[in-house]
């Protein structure tokens, strides 16, 4: 029997800060199966980034259990189980775009030929062909973020962790990348954990939407959506889509209710 890709039970994480403890995660339990596309949505500060970082072994939970492919996050990280797209592009300024995309390949010991081939494919995938020799500062913020996506995909990880990857992009580019990401997911059967602020983005992309609420950061609701895998952006006009979007909005409001 195969493990879920991500198996988190009763995760808590408290940051000790000078202003006292911050409960970034509290009793978070979540299973993600292979091939799922899971969006984390919620107001800022509700622990979306923290949860992603716990999965990636960049942060240690204070309590609870988490397994990635049946291993500890640490073992999974050593096995290079995931590709991580950070909120900021985090390209190395002294490397060209091509060399930035090749960075994980260099580290993982791919041959020069293989590197060149994968860089070419990656540039093509995110529509940056011709920018290989440019340095990051010569590209717009959106192009830089696309390069960072190509970098995370370059070594073909089965699990993609993406932290608001399209947050800084304009609507049109965002739509386009959403469709591309969906196609990629559809074709490759990758598992994706995707942090977003945008309800339409979450509903369009996901098989499962995790609505989180802040202080302490916890899961408020989990909404499944089962639109056909080959959906297109048109689906956003359908009543079913609007229905799911409303449920997500409702969940976010309830999570926020402490404000009133």
């Amino acid at each position: 029997m195969s493990h879920p890709v991500i198996e988190a039970s009763h995760l808590s994480l408290t940051f000790e800060t000078n202003d006292g403890p911050v409960h970034a995660l509290s009793d978070v339990s979540l299973d993600i199966q292979k091939g799922e596309f899971v969006s984390l949505i919620g107001p800022s500060g509700c622990g979306k980034t923290t949860l992603l970082r716990v999965i990636a072994d960049l942060e240690q939970p204070s309590e609870g259990e988490i397994n990635i492919n049946g291993m500890s996050p640490h073992e999974a990280r050593l096995k290079r189980a995931y590709g991580y797209v950070f909120q900021a592009p985090a390209l190395y300024p002294w490397r060209t775009i091509g060399k930035n995309i090749a960075l994980p390949l260099e580290i993982m010991g791919y041959s020069k030929v293989e590197q060149a081939e994968r860089v070419r494919k990656g540039l093509d995938l995110v529509n940056l062909t011709g920018f290989e020799k440019k340095f990051p500062w010569q590209l717009s913020g959106g192009m830089q973020q696309r390069a960072s996506i190509a970098r995370a995909l370059s070594f073909d990880p089965d699990l993609l962790l993406m932290d608001e990857p399209f947050g800084a992009l304009d609507e049109i580019v965002r739509d386009k990348l959403n469709e591309q990401l969906l196609r990629l997911w559809e074709m490759t059967q990758k598992t994706v954990v995707f942090v977003t602020h945008s309800i339409p983005e979450a509903v369009f992309l996901s098989t499962k939407i995790v609505v989180m609420s802040p202080r302490p950061g916890k899961i408020h609701d989990i909404i499944t959506c089962d639109f056909p895998r080959d959906r297109t952006l048109d689906i956003r006009e359908t009543p079913e889509f609007i229905d799911v979007a409303n449920r997500v909005r409702q969940g976010l409001r309830e999570g926020h209710s402490y404000v009133d």
């Binding site: 990280r77 290079r80 995931y82 590709g83 950070f86 340095f135 500062w137």
Partner: protein, 294 residues
């Protein structure tokens, strides 16, 4: 035309030079006047015009403050008109100083980089070694240099090496400090990225820390090369028989040859400027290849 000159560097620099020169000449007149009056007296010349006095102050053989003109004439004589092999040639002394400076700079920057790498990678060294590195620079080099020379002489290490050691002693410090700062400059996000690839410490060092440290390194290399030259000159004050700018300074002060002292000072400053500029050129070439914004 005039505005474009102002926007460039040339005219402002020239104007500042001219202002300095004017004050310098005034200073020479003022400082050398007493001596000139005495000279007139000793020559039995009881009365003299102000013009004669001023003219005298500007052409003494051992003035308290030589004029820029006298210094330039001395530089012209000892740099251009004397054979470079002669011990009276500043080119000869310059080459002695520069070779020790470069060797010392090489040793110092290697040592500085090595120490920085150790300090950044071994936590205990950060606390145990860095205080010593800092303490080493609190000892006045002028006190330390003769001891180093004497001790090394004891072991029959003479000539270039003791001077280079002192130069290295002064130059390793800025390189260590700058390189430590540079190797630590990657931000948490850049480091996290390496972690997600489960890169080894060595890979993180080569592909992240080293390239990130380059701008810091060059800044400290510029300070280091100038410090090397100072160290070499100080060492030459101790060990003047081998020549060098320091030896010229010492010889000049021994015989009251102020013009010679000032000429050696200027030549040393010019050499430091050239060395720093050379490091600057390498800096620009490297940072350009590393994609720096022009």
């Amino acid at each position: 035309m005039l505005t474009s000159l102002w926007q460039g560097k040339t005219l402002p620099v020239l104007v500042v030079c001219a202002i300095i020169a004017v004050f310098w000449y005034l200073g020479s007149i003022w400082l050398n006047a007493d001596m000139q009056r005495m000279l007139f007296e000793n020559n039995g010349q009881a009365s003299y015009t102000t013009a004669e006095l001023i003219e005298g102050t500007l052409s003494q053989e051992k003035p308290k403050l030589p004029t820029p003109g006298q210094i330039l004439a001395e530089l012209n004589k000892t740099v251009l008109e004397t054979a470079p092999t002669s011990k009276r040639s500043l080119v000869y002394h310059g080459s002695v100083t520069i070779s020790a400076t470069l060797l010392g700079f090489l040793i110092g920057s290697m040592l500085g980089m090595g120490l920085a790498i150790l300090v950044v990678h071994i936590k205990s060294l950060d606390r145990s070694l860095m205080p010593w590195v800092v303490a080493s620079q609190t000892i006045p080099i002028i006190a330390l240099a003769p001891m180093i020379v004497v001790i090394m002489n004891q072991f029959e290490v003479t000539g270039l090496i003791p001077k280079a050691v002192i130069a290295a002693y002064l130059s390793f410090f800025p390189v260590t400090v700058g390189m430590v700062k540079g190797l630590r400059s990657p931000d948490p996000l850049q480091l996290d990225l390496m972690r997600t690839y489960s890169a080894s410490q060595w890979q993180t060092f080569l592909k992240l820390r080293v390239p990130a440290s380059v701008p810091y390194l060059f800044t400290s290399l510029k300070v280091g090369v100038a410090a090397s030259l100072v160290g070499t000159v100080v060492a030459e004050l101790t060990k003047s028989e081998d020549g060098g700018f320091g030896a010229r300074l010492l010889g000049g002060s021994y015989y009251g040859q102020t013009i010679q002292i000032w000429a050696a000072l200027f030549a040393a400053a010019a050499c430091a400027w050239v060395l720093v500029s050379l490091v600057g050129v390498v800096d620009r070439v490297v940072t350009k290849a590393m994609g720096a914004r022009p």
